[in-house]
Amino acid sequence: MNRKAQAIVLFLVGGAVLRAGSTDLYLRYVKAGLRPLLLAAGVVLMAAAVATVWYERRARVADEGAVDGVGEGTREGSGEVSGEGLRESEGGHGHREPRVSWLLVLPLFALILVAPPALGSYTAMHTGTALQRPWGFPALPAGDPLPLNVADYAGRAVYDHGRSLEHRTVKITGFVALDGHGAPYLVRMALNCCAADAQPVKIGLTGRIPPVLEPDTWLQAIGTYTAKRSKDPVGGGAIPYLEVSRSRPVPAPRDPYDESWNG
């Protein structure tokens, strides 16, 4: 790949990262805290592209100015240009190193053209529930129904045997996932750094479940604690249940992942 093409790739990748970071797109892939770093990385990549074009132009102008070949000689003497030429001509002779740069267009296409969705029900049902014992069970605030996140409810239900949840109506938001038998779960993916480490926390739904549930639609379920429990067929983790009294579809939240574990 020559330097002009490299500049184009750097500029486009930088622009794509900048765009992902300045919209909510990046939240599908990485934790919210990475935003300033993403923006900075995008700016640096674009600056590198501009600098490449700028120095390339200057070198060409210097070249054209040196008609008698003296300028050519001085230019050869500068390590930057000649070393560069050496590597690129090696590339032309089957040396494989520079070719790998072509792969940088893949994340570019992924970000700009496809923009894959956040991990959803497919990953959730192929990964075991990652419920962990919470630090403690602080008293729940007042509220009826009380909004709780999936991991908080599941933690209290499994490890506190629902003691703090008795006589409370809770409101939980997550996306729908269906297992092989069509049984519905309310899931939220917990994320620590990026989607590669995202792990689901699942709550089984029972009671007045809507008759038709599409996987990956976001649902707000209002209901009460039930002692019903099951074992996740993948990984064997505990899955608590929620006795649903009513539910409604809701739009996907801004950040599709639960980042509360990040502290």
Binding site: G77, A196, Q199, G235
Partner: protein, 337 residues
Amino acid sequence: MTTTTEAAPTGAGRRDAGDPRGGRFDSSLGLIMLLLLVVVAQGPVRRALSAPVAQSWMTVFTAVVLQALPFLVLGVLLSALIAVFVPPSFFARALPRRPAVAVPVAGVAGAVLPGCECASVPVAGALVRRGVTPAAALAFLLSAPAINPIVLTATAVAFPRQPQMVFARFVASLVVACAMGWLWQRLGRADWLRPPARPAFQGDGRGAAFWASVRHDVMHAGGFLVVGAMAAATLKAVVPASWLRGAADDPAVSVLALAVLAVLLSICSEADAFVAASLSQFSLTARLAFLVVGPMIDLKLFAMQTGTFGRGFALRFAPATFVLAVVVSTLVGAVLL
């Protein structure tokens, strides 16, 4: 270390690859054609990728690249700063003259590079080119992603009830890093370490040299990062989680299983502690192996090391690191956990 110094300009270098001449493949034109083609064909491309497996593959792939990119850029900037603004004499003064002593000093110095493993590869490459003893640079390469404060804090948060895990991770990682440094010093041969020919970045004005170094490193390490991200996404999509369940029972198998998993998953070292914490069916020693192996050698790192230090190096260095990391974490786990 003659092989690690910059390649001398030769006659072959006279040709500026920017000019398309005599039937040579013009990469700018090719790139523009490729971009146009993909934009025109985006409908079929999107349809082909709409299956759930393909979508989750794409999401993980994009996530690994996007997450690693800022740290790669940070590492590349530091590497360019070292290459252009720090004279080689600085390292000669800063590091002990005897390599055997320089190794642990460089290993401990890894603690100051905040971030994950993607940043340490270009920095270690720049150190080698700047005349630092390869043994010391390699100790830095291995220790930096594992023992910096950000990673250790994340480990402490992920294992609130086992604070000894943080200490064990620090000790085991540092021991492996230094041992690999010393091993390289005893057995390593200079001709294994063959970094791809690269420009000297000197004399042409510091601004030009700085940006040329940034561009060069991003294009190369970035390309290898993409290779690693593809491998990690494929394994995450293909390897079923149930595969792990059987491995947890046998102590020896569980250590090996989690070490292999760390290599395959290629998770950023800032996040791996949380994943390790969730693998609660495994022993603490097995999870320590996961935390020690992951930042030192995984698919993404292997690809990037190949790009920075050459294939001959990576093929020898990676298996040795893996074995040593597994052995040391087992020993440290037996003593501390």
